[in-house]
Symmetry: C2
């Protein structure tokens, strides 16, 4: 018997045509990007990108990768498009980082050229540093023909809560499948427009630009988060989708008058970057605002799990179900299927590796599955609940305590501005939770009292410390290890 | 300098989870299929498919491929789902074929089992032939885990206008990219429903089922084409899309009262299978019916080029622009870029080969491009115009004549029912066009007169023959070579 694979003579095409060239061919007159009410079509973007690419290619010290420091504006957007037209890999640098941190990434990525809209003068260690406005003249280039599936178009350093930043490599295929998974979930229309105020140097922002090229969709760029100005756009512009983190959603809702809703085409407020509280979700519902909670990371080229707004009431605390191209399984520490445990993911959007650190990804790979090191469970209907980082879990007398859950319970306490929960060793229980807090009019007694009303008694922090600094990464993640290391320097709240 | 590809440690996942299993997980309660107003959800389809798969797997003579003869009904639909759950390749047999033709395909495909809703008794040469209703009992199976990218899920024999039928192999990746290209072009919504009356044993029909699994979309199955009944569905059911061939579109419009339009959600009448006439398109516009002309073939897993309804007025005769994952180039007989010539396609939807005939596909492949052997051109805006089969072109005194064009020009002639144009050798011009016609009240003079009003004089057929038979393939394609061979037996019209 002949097997079917004996007959395969054509391996499928492993590259698509250059996405921007394609868009300029098939939808030249559609708007690609809007900023401050100025529109630019795909044909115009392609033309401008080739012109800027010509300027960049006239520079001497430009190798296969180029570092980029930018904000969410048209100048930065066009530089990205230009680098893709040149076939360069873009190393996105988070502008909030310190000079030392940036130097580490520039060195690790082996770049010789940094394009920037900022002025770091001589502080950065790089051969050539050029401001966008200082690019020399150059002839427009002929863009690359193809966007190969396996080509790494973007490198983004994860902020690393415990270790050195790792450069996550994202291929065109990663971005294509990410865009497809999102479209299958959220739907797609030629009238769609996606507001991008989340940073483009993060995957949450950059993935919007890639979707724009793939879908032929308008991106509305917003440089600074101003809740009133953004609400105006969402009420009056035909925007259909926006990506937010919880704090943005809260501020937008706080600034929205009770009797005002977003435009009727608005379809999805895609919420990533951690859980949000019940009160915020309820307020969103009052405004008929379809919030889509989601779960994803730089390593998976943005969302891989999303909750449909229709399920919010029923599955309030869940991040939803895996997108169509994505599979999820829950495994224990031995890699065996478990009811509760580490979240493992299989996805065509998974990074092909960390730059210069091949072993780092392989450590977390098991038979094609990527161990996220996040802890969680699937309920009986297949909805995913993320409980926190595996390393953050506190095992107290056999009970598992997740700092995220304890912190969430305190979200509505009057006077409390911020709280971080960590585990500390304990002779009796093995470990117990303690909290570092800031706010006004707080006392250990009132905090303990509040916690006992909301939480199982073993989850209530044993001690409450007055915060001195907040250890967070550039993207806002809490660095619990740093808090642990510094705990001795803090005083217990009276 | 380290190159980016040195760092790739994870080759992207080359298989997705079983699509039906996935759908039953993420959208269990969405309707997968409707027939005669009866709905079945994805969870129900998955359960029933596993049950039927159990029956099939209890049969003895079942190898890697199973042949299927079916109509567009739920029984046939569930057999397809069951075969995919078992990991079998489905060999679709066109029920309109003769017994000899079917036997050729069964033998070529090396199948030992045929599932059918028909009764061919002993006429078919196959080890085991089972009617759906005669399947034995069997325990429900555990479905295959994955749908690998390169797995050939469907084989469809092209009807072969000049040579023996070839079994086109279609992989899951072909179908996935086809569905994605279509969604990017037509848009996507959770409320979508696609009416399938085009045969499921053709790619036009089967591709609807694959889109349904990928999108989580409802399929409305219709077994027989009845223009009044289908119009009723399109007016009252929430159907958003329907695939048609030109004759269906004509009949639907003819049966639609002037003051009635389809439901307001109806988004796309996807028109394939050849060009249609101006009058039909104009009538569609009167009814605000968005007709999307398209171009594709079994080898490209359905449409690869489509015309947006917004462009119909401006580009009436065009089949549109390549879908996002597809590239097109026009080449001359030497494979050089040309203004007018053969249409070459590069697409992730391209077949991986013809079953048992690896050379047949390689003959038409050039550096990753597939030569369709269709003749056409791209206009200055990148719209594709298909003029006909390369082999059908008549070179008359240095002028190219396409039979399709001549036939289209005669479409509105009163009394003419059908016309086929072929080229015959001519001492003076090399070749000249002649026509075979049927109709009432026709004369060679009136036909010549009509042609001279519509066409350049060299395109008007030199002679008009009275038809005796119509040589068409099972899918309705004209077999011009057969007409040429039989021309001597025909009489010239007075």
């Amino acid at each position: 018997m002949t097997k079917w694979y004996d007959n395969i003579v054509i391996k499928e095409v492993e590259k698509m045509e250059n996405w921007l060239v394609k868009r300029a061919q098939i939808t030249p007159n559609r708007v690609a990007v809007t900023m401050a009410h100025q529109d630019m079509t795909f044909a115009e973007v392609a033309q401008k990108a080739n012109h800027i690419a010509g300027k960049i290619s006239s520079l001497k010290d430009c190798n296969a990768r180029v570092a980029l420091i930018m904000t969410n504006n048209v100048a930065g957007y066009l530089i990205i498009m230009a680098l893709q037209q040149l076939g360069k890999t873009i190393v996105f640098i988070n502008r909030r980082l310190s000079v030392d941190e940036i130097n580490y990434q520039l060195s690790d990525a082996g770049v010789t050229l940094l394009l920037t809209d900022d002025d770091y003068t001589q502080a950065l260690q790089i051969k050539q540093q050029i401001r966008f406005s200082d690019l020399p003249d150059g002839e427009p280039i002929i863009p690359v023909t193809a966007f190969p599936d396996d080509f790494v178009t973007s490198v983004m350093y994860t902020s690393g809560t415990t270790s050195q930043p790792k450069g996550v490599m994202q291929t065109y295929k990663n971005h294509f499948y990410s865009a497809m998974g999102s479209a299958i979930n959220l739907g797609l229309s030629a009238q769609d427009a996606w507001l991008a105020v989340v940073p483009i140097f993060h995957i949450s922002g950059f993935s919007i630009l890639m979707r724009s090229l793939i879908y032929g969709m308008r991106v509305v760029l917003v440089e600074k988060f101003d809740s009133q100005a953004i609400n105006e756009l969402l009420i009056h512009d035909g925007i259909t989708t926006m990506s937010v983190v919880p704090v943005m959603l809260k501020q937008l809702l706080a600034a929205l008058p009770d009797d005002v809703n977003y435009n009727s085409h608005f379809r999805a407020m895609l919420l990533g970057g951690g859980p949000t509280d019940l009160a915020t979700l309820q307020k969103a519902q009052l405004h008929k605002l379809p919030v889509i909670q989601s779960y994803g990371m730089t390593e998976t080229a943005s969302q891989v799990v999303a909750l449909d707004s229709a399920d919010i009431v029923k599955k309030m605390q869940s991040v939803g179900k895996p997108l169509f191209p994505v599979s999820i399984t829950i495994r224990d520490q031995d890699g065996q299927p478990a009811d509760q445990g580490n979240i493992w993911i299989k996805s065509p959007t998974l990074t092909v590796g960390y730059l210069n650190k091949p072993q780092k990804l392989l450590q977390n790979m098991h038979d094609g599955w990527f161990d996220t090191e996040d802890f969680g469970y699937l309920d009986e209907d297949g909805f995913l609940y993320v409980q926190g980082r595996q390393g953050d879990m506190i095992n107290s007398g056999g009970e598992n305590i997740f700092p995220d859950e304890v912190e969430s319970a305190y979200a509505k306490m009057p006077g409390l501005d911020d709280i971080v929960v960590i585990g500390v060793p304990d002779d009796v229980w093995g470990a117990v939770p303690v909290a570092i807090v800031s706010g006004t009019g707080l006392s250990s007694d009132s905090l303990r009292q509040f916690g006992r009303e909301k939480l199982a008694h073993y989850k209530v922090p044993q001690s409450f410390y007055q915060a001195k600094y907040w250890h967070r990464t550039a993207s806002g993640k809490v660095q619990r290890q740093q808090f642990k290391a510094d705990l001795d320097a803090l005083e217990i709240l009276k």
